[in-house]
């Protein structure tokens, strides 16, 4: 049973006091303009998931605490949490640096695009 820590209110407790909310950083394409979303984009949004054996980024809710959503970085093999961070935030850079495969690609792309903007 995992120990989770909410970065919003600092509450720390068993996973049963929290709600696991699936993969983090999934973009909802329709938010900008549903008409111009392709079937493939919609499929990726709804179903395609990064499923790494190792460092993963996911959403949790402080279900029995402040009720707020937040992000967590967790190793899916050792189950160790590497970081907890805000729902609108990116992980700490040192954790991003540990990301591999599809996650590494994602953050690289994401950081580039934010750099431009």
């Amino acid at each position: 049973m995992l120990v989770v820590k909410c970065p919003v209110c600092g509450a720390e407790g068993d996973e049963t006091d929290f709600h696991a909310g699936g993969q983090a950083h999934v973009r909802r394409p329709a938010t900008t303009d549903p008409a111009h979303v392709t079937d493939e984009e919609q499929r990726d949004y709804l179903f395609i998931r990064i499923n790494p054996k190792g460092l993963h980024f996911e959403r949790w809710r402080c279900d029995r605490g402040c009720g707020k959503w937040f992000h967590a970085a967790r190793d899916t093999v050792t189950m160790e949490f590497k970081a907890f961070y805000g729902i609108t935030e990116l992980p700490p850079m040192d954790v991003i640096a540990q990301a591999k495969g599809q996650w590494a690609e994602y953050f690289e792309h994401r950081l580039k695009s934010e750099h431009k903007a």
């Binding site: 549903p34 919609q42 050792t78 729902i87």
Partner: protein
């Protein structure tokens, strides 16, 4: 030929002044306070405790504690019976009834023993090779036979009368094991101010100290451990748990402790003390001081009653004053077992030693020799002779042996009625592995030791492969100090101990004849797995240790391989030519020893198993004879049958009551969510399929919600209280889910919206007053507001008072009749409900339940999300495209509605159905077929979603999702029912009653 083995004196744990009598297989046995079933029964001269799993061979005591795999007994009667307990752990009490297992008709005369005679036909995995013909025989002949033969103990009869509970505890340091290492580590951690929990599976602390040689600070180990134990019990920052087994280690140092609170004392049970307690411990640091488990030696017929571990033999003498026999042989490959010989000699028991090593020059062997104990080095036991049926040992054969020698060259007979064996000691690292700890093989010990672990857990002492007393103390005090979080090194006492020479592994002792020609060298006793079975598995290609395990069932018995593990790997490594590390080891899984399901359920049984939610009117419903139905966790009144009424009659009466007079429904379970903020209206536009920003203040609007897949998930009426303030109704099941859903989108997607959401469902009791006389009833209740159709038309809202009661009134209808939903704060709910019932009496008002509600809405063609929809249904499917906005740029699920399959042809669409015979009521979920055939398969074109007999229309009505249904109006389709009947029904629209809605606007 058995005789009593209780010694004249001795036995540290037994109080000879307190006699205790109990029964074993109905025979009365008497022992002393402090005895276990194992020691007391053995003392009475009874050697055989049970029968083995496959061959039904008679089996006796092997171990001293939880490692015991043979002496399993059932304890207690009827509903209090508990099977498969280790006799070595069961403390006796007056009146206890214990029984042996897996034998019929009796322990000494067991029909199943025929399996042993036929054993050559039952090698490992034999059942995969046969029982295949004829096909039907497996289920009906072979399997029932195998199942009856297997299975050890019997289940209890009836519901468990005892109670169980759980508790959470947090600590800085959890010490697992109350032996020398554990006590030392706990003392050091506690001295540093840490919060310490220390648990041991035995009734008393001390571990194996009492049967180990040596001294600490010139105190005997027994005195030292007793003193340390007392100190820990007295400490303010320590919690000591005895009779408590640590059963599992999970992620993030979540550790589960299983406490046997009252098993040893029925008096406690009758006082109401929980029988077992599960401790859920969250520890910053875990210290594993679980010690080690002695391993047997694989020699021919090493399973005969009377062959036991050397530690068990001396434990029986030291702890219970019970001799394992009158004359025995200690068979060892190490120095430690010489302690057993010495103890036995002191106790006046005849003993000699067979040591497989070429030389035995250590301090202990030398002392043994000095005491006149015969010691044969380079010797093994090559045969065990018994009386008929293998019940009693009459002697052994001792053969000369050199390392690697597979054949017996010369052997001599030796008198003996028991054997004490020791193949060395395995660190008890099971808990280390539960959560993925790595282990490595230690050549000196010929056993696995803890290596790396990603969690905060540290193994010390024998559990870490350290057996030297000084080394154990040093390691324990350092660990306890360091892991306390403060780390002032606690002084380490000095130890005195005889030095021991290294063991020499012997995985397999040569036997008279060849081992795979009839002789049985048991590796896994309980499952009857022999060395030959393991060798055969290797030869047949089941090379992975996991394959061998599963093919032969080695290590899969109730002891989970505690004693057999390494011996098995040794045999496999010799058979495969691989080293033991190359062979690898099977994964240790929780629990360490079996623990009760009752403790896992804790108090969550019967009415506490899962919460039941009650409305404020619940007791009134009960008092008025309501039949209930669970809706989510809620209990809702289904109908209120009167004396002599069937549910059906009652439901029909309630329906007609609403249609013709007026009815009252407890709708408090409906979700109610307040939504407020400058962006509230726009937010609702995103959440609902239809438009809410255009809703006028004081008006209600019915809304549909989809998930992002485009499927309906909830519906309900939302009212606009003010420009930036809405109150949303959800389905009864939906309140929590939908308010969480709203929060999620606000927090994670549309974070710029200024909107607050609060779920106020439980603050309100809400009733539907429905029927032509509804307004008359409310008028009687002295409303503070105008109820006229003009002032309060359909789909409008008013806040005010009914008499003294503050109310929110929604003029909305789920029945098609004039209807008001009245909400008042829950604490006033019952009062107002009673007033309404009183006020309504003269208008024929009666309460109605959820079933009437469903029929009423079906007559009007209103959908119920979850009945008309099933998680793959879109608003368009159910004919509500009118409620799917074309104007709004975006709302949840909008994009998915564009996916080819969702807007494709031939989707199932909601239609009404009128059966040709108005008395035919289609069953819920019945399927229509394209063409009726005389037998399946038939192509299905859709299913009934709701079906009722409508008392209003005096006929059956139904709704169904039918392929392309809306283009089939007027068509007649067929529903083949069980038993061959085919019901034909005409497709209509879904509104069966008051199509123009005239009754709503009166």
């Amino acid at each position: 030929m058995s005789k009593p083995y209780r010694l004249g004196s001795g036995g540290r744990l037994v109080d000879r002044t307190k006699k205790v009598s109990f029964t074993f297989d109905g025979k009365s046995v008497s022992g002393f306070q402090g005895d276990t079933v194992a020691s007391a029964v053995l003392a009475s001269g009874q050697r055989v405790f049970g029968r083995s799993f496959k061959y039904h061979r008679p089996r006796g005591l092997v171990g001293l504690g939880s490692e015991e795999m043979n002496a399993l007994v059932g304890v207690g009667l009827g509903a209090r019976h508990e099977p498969n307990l280790r006799a070595t752990q069961v403390e006796i009490f007056n009146g206890m009834a214990a029984v042996s297992q897996n034998r019929w008709p009796s322990l000494n005369w067991d029909v199943g023993a025929i399996n042993n005679q036929l054993s050559r036909f039952f090698p490992g995995g034999f059942y995969y090779k046969t029982f295949m013909w004829p096909q039907s025989f497996w289920k009906h002949v072979y399997e029932p036979f195998i199942r009856r033969a297997a299975g050890l103990g019997k289940a209890p009869e009836g519901r468990d009368p005892d109670s169980y509970e759980q508790i959470h505890v947090h600590c800085d340091v959890l010490v697992i094991g109350g032996g020398i290492a554990g006590l030392a580590a706990a003392e050091a951690a506690a001295a540093n101010g840490a919060k310490v929990v220390i648990a041991d599976e035995n009734p008393q602390l001390g571990g194996l100290a009492d049967i180990s040689g040596g001294a600490i600070d010139s105190q005997s180990l027994v005195d030292w451990t007793a003193a340390k134990g007392a100190k820990l019990y007295a400490a303010e920052n320590v919690h000591v748990l005895n009779r408590t087994t640590v059963v599992g280690h999970w992620h993030h140092n979540f550790v589960m402790l299983f406490e046997r609170v009252a098993d040893h004392d029925p008096a406690l049970l009758s006082q109401g003390v929980p029988r077992h307690r599960l401790w859920k411990v969250r520890a910053h640091q875990v210290i594993l001081a679980t010690g080690s488990i002695e391993r047997p030696i694989a020699f021919a017929n090493n399973d005969r009653p009377g062959v036991m571990l050397a530690s068990a033999a001396r434990g029986m003498v030291e702890r219970y004053g019970v001799a394992p026999g009158s004359n025995g042989v200690v068979f060892t490959n190490n120095d430690d077992a010489y302690q057993t010989a010495i103890v036995l000699k002191h106790a006046g028991v005849g003993v000699r030693v067979a040591d497989s090593r070429a030389r035995a020059e250590g301090a202990l062997p030398s002392k043994a020799r000095e005491m006149g104990i015969p010691v044969d080095t380079g010797s093994v036991i090559s045969a065990v002779n018994t009386t008929w049926g293998g019940l009693n040992i009459t002697g052994v054969k001792i053969a000369s042996y050199r390392k690697g020698q597979g054949r017996v060259i010369k052997e001599t007979k030796a008198e003996a009625d028991f054997v004490a064996m020791s193949g060395g000691w395995n660190p008890a690292l099971h808990l280390w592995c539960h959560n993925g700890g790595k282990i490595r093989f230690d050549d000196a010990l010929q056993a696995f030791r803890p290596d790396k672990h990603h969690d905060h857990i540290t193994a010390i002492g024998a559990a870490n492969g350290h057996f030297g007393l000084h080394q154990i103390l040093e390691e324990a005090y350092h660990a306890g100090s360091k892991l306390s979080g403060h780390g002032n090194l606690h002084p380490v006492p000095t130890a005195q101990q005889a030095e021991e020479r290294p063991l020499e592994p012997i995985w397999f002792a040569p036997a008279t004849g060849k081992y795979n020609e009839g002789n049985k060298h048991f590796i896994d006793y309980q499952n009857d797995v022999t060395a030959a079975d393991l060798e055969l598995a290797q030869r047949e290609g089941y090379e992975s240790v996991e394959h061998t395990k599963r093919y032969t069932t080695f290590g899969m018995a109730t002891d989970q391989g505690k004693t057999s593990n390494i011996n098995g790997l040794g045999v496999i490594s010799e058979a495969s030519g691989k080293t033991i590390p190359e062979v690898g080891i099977t994964t240790f899984r929780p629990p360490y020893t079996p623990f009760s399901f009752g403790s896992v359920a804790g108090v969550l049984t019967k009415d506490l198993f899962l919460p039941i939610r009650r409305t404020a009117i619940y007791q009134w419903h009960v008092d008025h004879g309501a039949v209930f139905e669970p809706v989510g966790q809620w209990r809702r009144a289904y109908t209120y049958p009167k004396a002599g009424e069937t549910n059906h009659q009652s439901i029909d009466r309630e329906i007609l009551g609403v249609r013709n007079k007026v009815g009252l429904l407890d709708a408090s379970t409906l979700g109610k969510i307040e939504i407020k903020g400058p962006d509230a209206a726009e937010f609702l536009d995103r959440m609902y399929t239809n438009m809410f920003s255009t809703l006028k203040i004081g008006k209600c609007r019915y809304g549909l919600m989809m998930n992002e897949l485009g499927f309906l998930t909830d519906d309900g009426v939302t009212v606009r209280l003010s420009d930036d303030h809405f109150l949303m109704h959800t389905t009864s099941g939906g309140a929590d889910r939908i308010s969480a859903w709203l929060e999620e989108w606000l927090q994670t997607e549309w974070t710029h919206y200024k909107v607050f959401v609060t779920n106020v469902t439980e603050n309100w009791s809400q009733f539907a007053i429905a029927g032509p006389r509804a307004r008359d009833v409310l008028k009687k209740l002295d409303p503070s507001f105008d109820l006229s159709n003009e002032a309060l038309p359909h789909m409008s809202f008013v806040e005010g008072k009914l008499g003294a009661y503050p109310v929110r009134v929604y003029r909305i209808s789920f029945s098609g009749e004039l209807s008001y939903e009245v909400a008042t704060p829950s604490s006033y709910g019952l009062g107002l409900w009673k007033d309404i019932v009183a006020a309504g009496a003269e208008f024929g008002l009666e309460p109605y339940g959820t079933e009437a509600l469903h029929v009423l809405r079906a007559e009007k063609g209103y959908i119920v999300v979850g009945d008309e929809t099933d998680g793959t249904t879109t608003p368009i499917d159910v004919g509500l495209e009118g409620l799917v906005s074309k104007k709004k740029a975006d709302f949840l699920g909008k994009r998915s509605l564009e996916q080819s399959f969702l807007k494709g042809p031939n989707r199932k669409q909601l239609v009404g159905l009128l059966t040709e015979d108005p008395n035919d009521v289609l069953p819920d979920g019945a399927y229509a077929v394209r063409h009726v055939k005389d037998k399946p398969p038939m192509e299905m074109i859709g299913q009934v979603t709701s079906s009722y007999r409508s008392p209003t229309l005096g006929r059956s009505i139904a709704m169904a999702l039918i392929e392309n249904g809306r283009n089939r109006m007027g068509e007649t389709i067929s529903f083949p029912l069980p038993g061959g009947k085919v019901v034909r029904a005409k497709i209509t629209d879904t509104v069966f009653y008051d199509k123009e809605g005239a009754k709503l606007n009166v």
